[in-house]
């Protein structure tokens, strides 16, 4: 893996880890799963494939952000009708 891609992957991992701090099922739950997900892709050597995987991780990031927003929105809407 080239240095640049390696940096990108690590940064993505760190960002996801940080997002996991607010995960509803707990940080450890999230961290273990995240670790597994990244470890399962560790064998990738093709640069294009790695870039695809990073894109997927970015997508997951967006999804988690949306999950947090919707969870908060719903509970607030319930509280303040």
């Amino acid at each position: 893996m080239s240095g640049k891609l390696r940096h990108q992957v690590i940064a993505t991992y760190k960002e996801l880890l940080e997002m996991g701090r607010h995960y509803p099922l707990g940080y450890t739950y999230f961290r273990d799963r995240l670790h597994k997900a990244f470890a399962s892709q560790a064998h990738l050597t093709d640069e294009v494939k790695i870039q695809e995987a990073i894109k997927r991780a970015d997508y997951v990031k967006k999804e988690i952000g949306a999950l947090y927003y919707i969870k908060r929105y719903r509970s607030l809407r319930q509280r303040y009708p």
Binding site: K14, E15, M19, G65, Y68, R72, Y73, L76, Y80
Partner: protein
Amino acid sequence: MYSSQTNKCLLIDFWHSVAERESAVRGRLECLPARMSKSLRILVPVKRVIDYAIKPRVNKSQTGIDTAGVKHSLNPFDELSIEEAVRLRERKKTPVSDILAFSAGPAKCADTLRTAMAMGADRAIHVEVPEDQPLEPLGVAKLLKAVAEKEESNLVLVGKQAIDDDSGQTGQMLAGLLGWPQATQASKVEIEGETVTVTKEVDGGVDTVRARLPMIITTDLRLNEPRYASLPNIMKAKKKKIEKKTLEDYGVDGRRRLKTIKVEEPPPRKGGGKVQDVDGMISKLKELGKIWAFDVLPFPSSVSRPDGFLTLNATRSNLE
């Protein structure tokens, strides 16, 4: 002489444009402050509250809520107001020269302000207030008045309420103190030049108000979708400045005027019961003392209703 229809229209017109007229009059009287600053200087007051997902617990002495070791975060309604300020900048319709986040509270409020800056605020002011002596809405409003005047803000975007004490007063009090027009519980904000049009959700529809800058807008839940403060942005926000101030700097007295006598949890909800049939329900209601003799009511014992609702034959024979 007006016909009643014209009268009505005039009245409606009057009430709908009270805010507009007020600001127009002010514009004529003291046109300088509003005219001088063409670009928006937005003040966004934020509060650090117990996270929405956490169930608050009453402390042992029943004087308040346990806050020690509990996760805190930025008040969700304040997130909406920061997001709106950032979106106003991104829309590029009116130039936004400054987005100032402001918070008054214990030292940990700095984290809240960092989050605000990670979402897009330019700088922040933190007024240190001891944790056991929090400010009341009036105190906050007085403080915000001083800040808005000192920083020459011309738009204050404030959450409609904080989710911890649910007062929902600060924005309105601030508008009263400053003498600025206010638009509460906004679900849409449009700014063109110096005219601000705010749509608010009311029962059974929407209400549109218009006023001229400077003004105060309190944000409702459906105004926008706040962005997530991502790690890179949090890191960038660490370079932005937080000014530390005290209450004395603004000449505000933070003394409390209200005394909390007792805080209690609501009584646990009792489960419901099932009844076999209508007679069973009536006897149950009678048992609970919710109904007395129906037959004294001045309508026939059996009322046929076209809307298909269940009608009880409430005669004495049925009740006894």
